[in-house]
Amino acid sequence: MLLNASGCLDALAAPDVARQLDAFVTKTITPLPREGNAPPRIAETAHGMLNAIGLANPGRERFLAEQLPRLLELGVPVWVSVGGFCAADYAETCAALDGVDGVAAVELNLSCPNVDEAADSAAEIVAACRAATRLSLYAKLSAAHPDVAAVARAVAQAGADGLSLVNTLRGIALDRALRPVLARGSGGLSGPSLKPLALSAVHACYAATGLPIVGMGGVQTGRDALELLACGARDVALGTVLFADPDAPRRVRAELHDAAAEAGVASPEDAFALAHASRKRPGKDGKRPSLNAPGALVRSAGRGPLEDASARARSLPRPAHGRAQARERRPRPAGAAEEGPQGGQGSDRADPR
């Protein structure tokens, strides 16, 4: 499944771009309206860009009344990105979305570098939201944390259904006179320079939790998307590339199949988790890949709305293929959540490669 990274597309301003996606992720919604940070808000860097938009959004009330109904008319499943400044902020928005028909999932923005972060821990926020909604909850984490896998395990324990990896990383760009370009001073780094960090975070969090992951960070081409799949992402989101190329979803989807062939795998979904030592390349030795082990992936199967959301949110390699996903839906054995497919303690150094 191909999505946009939150904040990188306005589906109402560019519905044709949104319709190229399998699901549209909104800009982060906070309880109260926010006009965002002062301009200048963006700066180009050598291999990416900085943004300090500051969660500009119309606030929960106006979003629910004015924007969401129009978004749901686009015919694209909608994921709502939810933000706030304490656990209750997030949970109230989740509760308000709980009964809304057509919302496929909620992404909890736990890692915006452009506002002062919520004082509550990621796990506290996820737990509060879990109690407030039956919707599928994806926790969006930052690779800035020294042990992102530990955060991933904590949010998994708190009830997250999936992970979105990664958010931008804080950076500064200076102008010719050596002053920060951005009015806020620092901003979130995105674009190609983020890709190795994204691959590493996806790799570590897949190993640690086995949760479904939306991988993002520097994806420009089908090969980039394939690499995220190989690290353990089930879905891929496009961010900065959308700014330069509004046809990127169509293009990346087409390139993905060629990239799989060039990598020697039959189809993109066969690349899933191949970067993990325990995952054998399919077809070479006649053995089924370790992914086939019952319950290798999903710990939260059986939660109704999640099943619904996932059915809509088929994995990147589009329909017809879906075998890996069918396997993923099997329930995990008790305790497996803490172990992960590496069979170790979920350390992000479990893979000797």
Partner: protein, 240 residues
């Protein structure tokens, strides 16, 4: 709706210190005067916004000043090179004006040749930093030209419909005296089609995206590129 097209460079001519970059038009619509296109800046992560300068048959022409790595890369393009082009984007000039006067400053003259053609060659006044920059006035035959320290705003008579583009101090000076003037502003833009929220400026008292609302706005709508108050805080945060 924004679609990306790869277009071939058919010419790149020097006009004073600027470059007139001509692209094969292909299926692209030139749009209305004052609308803009995002041009891929070779080797750079983000494209750059440029208003259309001229629309010769089968071509789209953009006036570019090399001021940074992106514009320098665009000015270095040669016939046969290809770049990604997205547009036309944004809202251009309203053409329902009775007594138009075109006012341009520096690289801000870029949209005026195409606008002049659409309006039947109305009078124009152009201002430049130096005589070398003023060579670009050749793109708008018949225009009155002033060079610093004379300012374009010095001798504008009343009772005219102003359509302008230029540096921010010039636009602010025009807005102060002619609130109904149509002014083309600029702001840093990553996408040009409302996706990035990078080009937000204070319009009608709120931070709004210039690429969606403009870039052409009536003088009274945009105050200036200043931050506003009103940052949301959580009680917890406020107490901290």
């Amino acid at each position: 709706m924004p679609r990306a097209h790869r277009r071939r460079v058919v010419g790149a001519e020097r006009v004073g210190p600027y470059t007139l970059l001509r692209l094969d038009r292909g299926p692209l619509d030139p749009g209305a005067p004052g609308q803009f296109f995002m041009l891929e800046a070779p080797g750079r992560p983000l494209p750059r916004p440029f208003s259309l300068c001229l629309a010769p048959p089968g071509e789209l022409a953009f006036l570019i000043e090399p001021v940074g790595p992106g514009t320098e890369a665009l000015c270095a393009l040669e016939p046969g090179d290809e770049i990604r082009v997205v547009g036309p984007l944004g809202r251009g000039y309203r053409l329902d004006v009775a007594r138009p006067l075109l006012v341009g400053g520096g690289i801000g003259i870029a949209p005026l040749p195409w606008l002049s053609q659409a309006l039947g060659r109305p009078p124009a006044v152009l201002g430049f930093r130096t005589a070398a920059h003023a060579e670009a006035a050749a793109l708008l035959p018949g225009a009155e030209v002033v060079v610093d320290p004379v300012l374009v705003t010095d001798g504008i008579p009343s009772g005219l419909d102003l359509l302008a583009c230029g540096p921010e101090p010039m636009l602010r000076a025009l807005a102060a005296r002619w609130p109904e003037a149509q002014l083309a502003w600029e702001a840093p833009m990553a996408c040009g089609y409302g996706a990035c929220y990078g080009c937000a400026v204070r319009i009608d008292g709120e931070l709004k995206r210039l690429c969606v609302e403009g870039p052409v706005l009536s003088g009274h709508r945009l105050v200036c590129h200043v931050p506003g108050p009103g940052r949301e805080t959580c009680p917890k945060e406020a107490a901290a």
